[in-house]
Amino acid sequence: MGNPEVAYMPDSIAKTIEIAAPVERVWDALIDHEKFGSWFRVALDHPFAVGAASTGYMTYPGYEDYRWEARVVAIEPMTRFAYEWPATGGDKELMESGVAVSEWTLVEFMLEPTALGTRLTVTESGFDKVPEPRRSNVMRDNEGGWAEQVKNIRDYAEH
């Protein structure tokens, strides 16, 4: 022990990508619930509205019977879209049980115009609150799921 590297425990994830399209078009793909559903792989019941629940079902191959649940936190046109979702860790029994999950993580999409188009940053925060067994579930679930997802992205990009 005594290694600060080991002790480093981030509470959030941040990812940035450059998109060769104007901010308006990226914003539209985020905020239009049908367009959002197309790339996120989810069928949403309603348009997004601040303070409102968002519900639906995943359309991701192999996960079609997984519910989508979120609460929209912010819609700031061309700038920021944020929602919270329950940290279920992909635990389907927990999702279906009707038991409220008390830990939610916050997802924020932030847009900036660049010379070439748009810089999009997504952050997800609040992971330090999630109990350990649920985290382990996520890890097991994702071992197979991730390989599947990579294939999926490639298929999508090549068509």
Binding site: R41, E132, R135, S136, I153
Partner: protein, 87 residues
């Protein structure tokens, strides 16, 4: 809190909260969350509870965040493809 346990030693609630502008109760509550998350362990020394870091818990948490991060890479890749392929 995690930083204060990073040397692998054991600390009491008083030692962990020393110099922080938060109450003993707040420190205890934060430690409860870390215990629940498997990031620290608790032992007893007489009447006092001592806390230390659970390195395997921290490693698991980091692996888990890496996995979640990979999923976001995939999701954002699909968003990029979607937007850039629109007429």
């Amino acid at each position: 809190m995690i930083g204060r346990l990073a040397d692998g030693g054991e600390r009491s609630i008083g030692q962990l909260g020393h110099g922080l502008p938060i109450s003993r109760q707040a420190v205890a509550k934060h430690l409860d969350v870390l215990l629940g998350a498997g990031l620290v362990t608790r032992t007893r020394a007489g009447r006092e509870a001592l806390f230390s870091l659970r390195p395997e818990g921290v490693a698991e948490a980091r692996d888990w965040l890496a996995k979640v991060g990979s999923q976001w890479d995939g999701t954002l890749g699909r968003l990029k493809d979607f937007v850039e392929s629109q007429p």
